[in-house]
Symmetry: none
Subunit: 249 residues, 2 copies
């Protein structure tokens, strides 16, 4: 079993500024993806893992606590720890990409700007993506609106495992690309919506006055196994956009 371990650097750097428990956490996130642990067999026991990595058992638990709380691990006293089975109910409420939303309403929009670049993952994104801070990830920037001017500025960040190069044809609907070309199915979206004043840079992009209200919509998109796919943040001109949703109890 420990054969696989050195195939992927399962090591802890005691000199790294990153906390040990955080390194362990990332390490275990990788282990979780490995086939030998993803099929229901138990992870190495805490004591062994501690000894092998050269750190204390408490530190191991600090990491596994978080993963358990996230629902990635299942622990059973007296037995062991294993990867949680990914049971996801696929409900048919529907959420959309921007392209779909527009075309359903019969609206024709314009891409004022499309741009990709590789950037270092900032904390919020790294945390959602479950990757180390500073990892290079692809960022897609789009400025979209109607013929008379832009009304939303988007930034999308994609998880490295998807394998986007940045050279794709992003005039196609985004989720078409991800589903058809990369066989990854977006299935869960956690959204946060808030209002704020337009910063100087945002105002300039959207061609509005500084301090005018903007609707900020963040989306955390995951696949059916709860693996992160995309982080998306959009800045909408307030007067041109209303977020609408139906909720059943």
């Amino acid at each position: 079993m420990s054969e696989h371990l050195h195939t992927m650097e399962l090591i802890i750097d005691h000199n790294s500024p990153l906390p040990l428990h955080y390194q362990v956490e990332n390490l275990m996130r990788k282990m979780i993806e490995l086939p030998e642990y993803n099929n229901g067999s138990f992870l190495p026991k805490e004591v062994d893992l501690a000894k092998q990595l050269g750190i204390s058992r408490n530190t191991i638990r600090q990491a596994t606590n978080k993963l358990e709380y996230e629902g990635l691990l299942i622990r059973k006293k007296g037995v062991g720890t294993k990867v949680a089975r990914n049971i996801v109910t696929t409900k048919l409420d529907n959420w959309h990409s921007f392209t779909q939303e527009m075309s359903e309403k019969g609206l024709v929009f314009v891409n004022f700007m499309i741009e990709t670049k590789w950037v270092k993952a900032e904390p919020k994104i790294a945390s959602f993506m479950q990757i180390p801070e500073g990892t290079l990830i692809l960022c897609l920037i789009r400025l979209r609106g109607f013929a008379d001017g832009p009304f939303v500025y988007f930034e999308s960040y994609f998880h490295p495992r998807i394998g986007l190069s940045g050279k794709e044809d992003f005039s196609r609907p985004l989720y078409d690309i991800i589903e058809q070309d990369y066989h990854i199915v977006p299935s869960l979206s956690s959204e946060r919506i808030r209002a704020k004043s337009a910063s100087v840079i945002t105002a300039k992009r959207l061609r509005i006055g500084r301090g005018e209200p903007v609707l900020v919509r963040e989306r955390f998109v995951s696949d059916p196994g709860n693996r992160p796919i995309e982080y998306n943040i959009g800045f909408y001109i307030a007067e041109k956009f209303t977020y609408s949703i139906d909720i059943k109890r």
Copy 2:
């Protein structure tokens, strides 16, 4: 400060079968509701709490870790720990009244103003209510927030068939009144969210500067038979409110 502690049994039972960290967790959930901690001031520091309860600091942290993860506490290195107070979650399959949302987060809010009046239904409301324009309907106005000031201004309009008199005790949760006393079950909520600049009147009510961003949330609430119950519009101070929602596909 420690005066308040013995007013509500803030004690730990070392003989209880319940784990200490679990007892501490429950205890802190209660503390979070107390006005003296809910107004932004810091909780007792870990070392003191540990000494006072007669347990180790590690056990305190075991409890606060969980609460922090749930978003109830905010910890700042070198400064202290206090109650988090600005993210409100609305889950898709489970929507709530304001009172419920707050109490679930362990937040204590204040009604700065409660007022009812009978007004003529304006077009938008009349249309949703399916009543003639100008019909007299009950309007409930509430200004709510935390101890340090209001953060949302609500107007609720109720369909005449419900039979509200305006003399009900509106300090109770609104949907309790409607369900229990009037046997009408809110079941569908169509929501619209947008941002705008605070008008003079809104700014005055919320005690913010004119033109500052405000999140406007309209809700059209109906019963299971799709009959209109309530139209509700809330103006939230942007920086104190984030609308959050999970969507499954």
